[in-house]
Symmetry: C2
Subunit: 381 residues, 2 copies
């Protein structure tokens, strides 16, 4: 059946009707007063979402482009950086750093496990010469459904005093608390097709005053990703290069929706849906890939050798798309996205479909256990 | 009156209804078979539009991002490049080259004049040590409405034998002939909000076999803009980073429209509308900023000290947006875009509105002369 696809992947995430309608508007000139007013509103609301008084900049780029900008604008060739790596995206930021001749000091954990803040403390405390210029951390590791303890890692960075903290918040921002100013996060990067509830095409970077200080002496080459150009333009409600006008129309709509729902409610919804999904998986006899204490709010990964069969059945019978594993996890896990424009009904639906798939595979331990477990948690809060 | 805006600027250009509808579709997963089929079709049609059998890659970026990728992927620090500069965009590519520590040899012409191919010949012939690694040229200079003689400049580059030709075709591709393979253009960059008839957010770069050879030894740092990653993914009908799914839906629609119209007809339409616009401006006693022999097919710039008043009147009374001058040309010229999804009716409308504005300013030499001149030319072909 056409047009009945349901996305339960970590991105693109579902897009609300009012954002789709905004996307379909005729574009207007990006140098017009009308568009300046939209940039002003959207920028103000992005600051609200980031819980910051500092700058939040919009780039025509994917989350990777935004994160690369967040790294290269504040560093110089040879600079020593710590990169936390416990999944595909952590590994990617190490690759970016190496591509720009930074000296990478990796702190790793197995895929599916959280980074150990203690290792950050030790490495940072040992750096008495203050050679470490930045600590790069993926908050929510999309590839494994693990959330890293950014708050504690960041406390160690703050104790170091010199290093910047640069955060990949691509699947955490708009799903869980990322209080940029309260925690003093220097650079936070994200992408539009996640908690922002619009299609891919826009990247976001928040920049602290301390990061702008580092920018002044940073020597890595840049032009399109030069955040100084974006700040200068954004201060005048403009953009240095032609922005994706229609995506910004859509963003205007979803940020209004988010403000109406309120940050606390958004965070609670994601946490509730995460808990319901995990409880359901456990009730159905499935093995969760991430431990409870490090469960991402936006993605639940399930470890099973039937991953691809299960995905195939829920897609074929119910037109629900769940994500597979990436790289060496292909066929080992599947991932349920509960990020952005996802209601409790969607969770119930996805769990019911999953249960039906297990039934078809002869693996349903107790029919209805998953839906019952999810429904119970969804009803509690 | 709301929703009656008419864009006659060099970008964003008007978007056809079927592309707007495609934009408003629910996104699908970018790693799905369905999306692979779309990438395959779109890539094939992009090659058709570029008249090439080589690679055409899509980036989530503005035209500037695409052009930067087109420059940095094929060069190393210190490399000597010639940059043709006779407007805002030529100047920008020199800035990009300098930001990446390239040695820039500028060849300039006054804004409003075309670059002299003879100067390229002399500089390239004098380079007997073959130190020049690339020649960077803006084909159609959006800021002035001047088209440079790319064909002749390129012949001199070919005679040099060593240097790559890197072309900003942002406002020429899809408006006038840019036969990538026939001319042997190594790198051609463009952006979605122009001849492609969709909103901004996608950049395109075509890459020749010779350019890929240079890529192998090029040492400028890159990751997000690393075209090798895009080629590898595109060869598998995929993308290295999350692509702007909805913009690609829209692109699928407009490329189909373009194929139906046919390249020759598209080029003829743009030429006819350029001639009609210029004839009308002359008939109304207005001064054209670019000379006839170097008139861009997609933008007509008019030099008048009343530029801002005229723009203001056509906007206020008729809801038509024309572009102003950029940088030092602000207030000195206005620019009429006739690029992409523009019909003969739109030209007639814009000229009639312009004539009414001149009338209001007491500057209409002979009422109706502009519309009559435009109508005559539009009727000829």
């Amino acid at each position: 059946m056409d047009d009945k696809l349901m996305l339960m992947i970590p991105g693109p995430t579902p897009v609300p009707e009012q954002a789709l309608r905004a996307l379909a508007k005729h574009p207007i000139g990006h140098r017009s007063k009308d568009f300046e007013a939209i940039i002003a509103e959207v920028t103000e609301n992005l600051k609200w979402l980031h819980q910051t008084q500092s700058d939040v900049l919009m780039l025509t780029a994917s989350g990777t482009g935004a994160m690369e900008a967040g790294i290269i604008n504040f560093l110089s060739p040879g600079d020593r950086v710590i990169v936390g790596s416990n999944g595909k995206f952590g590994e990617r930021w190490a690759q970016v750093a190496k591509a720009y001749s930074l000296t990478v000091d990796p702190i790793t954990a197995d895929w599916g496990q959280a980074l150990d803040p203690e290792q950050f403390r030790q490495t940072l405390e040992a750096d008495t010469n203050k050679e470490i210029k930045a600590v790069i951390v993926t908050h929510s590791e999309t590839s494994t459904g693990v959330i890293n303890d950014l708050e504690t890692i960041n406390q160690h960075v703050k104790a170091h005093g010199q290093a910047l903290i640069i955060v990949d918040a691509v699947t955490s921002l708009g799903a869980t608390n990322v209080p940029v100013d309260a925690w003093g996060l220097d650079v936070v990067a994200s992408g539009s097709q996640k908690g922002f509830m619009i299609p891919p095409g826009l990247g976001f970077v928040s920049v602290s005053a301390k990061a702008w200080e580092a920018y002044k002496t940073a020597k890595l080459p840049k032009f399109y990703l030069d955040l100084g150009k974006y700040k200068k333009a954004t201060d005048q409600n403009s953009s240095p290069f032609t922005p994706p006008v229609n995506l910004i129309f859509a963003l205007q709509a979803t940020l209004r929706m988010m403000k109406q729902e309120g940050l606390e409610n958004i965070f609670k919804r994601h946490e509730r849906q995460m808990k319901a999904t995990r409880a359901a998986a456990t009730a159905m006899g499935l093995k969760l890939y991430a431990p409870d204490h490090a469960a991402a709010r936006s993605i639940t990964a399930v470890a099973t050798s039937d991953a691809e069969q299960i995905r195939s059945i829920v897609k074929k019978r119910f037109d629900i798309v769940m994500a597979g594993g990436q790289d060496h996890l292909k066929g080992e896990i599947f991932r349920i996205g509960h990020l952005g424009f996802v209601s409790d009904r969607d969770i119930l639906t996805a769990i019911a479909a999953l249960e039906a798939a297990l039934q078809e595979l002869g693996k349903a331990t107790q029919v209805g256990a998953g839906v019952a477990a999810a429904a119970k948690i969804l009803g509690e809060s």
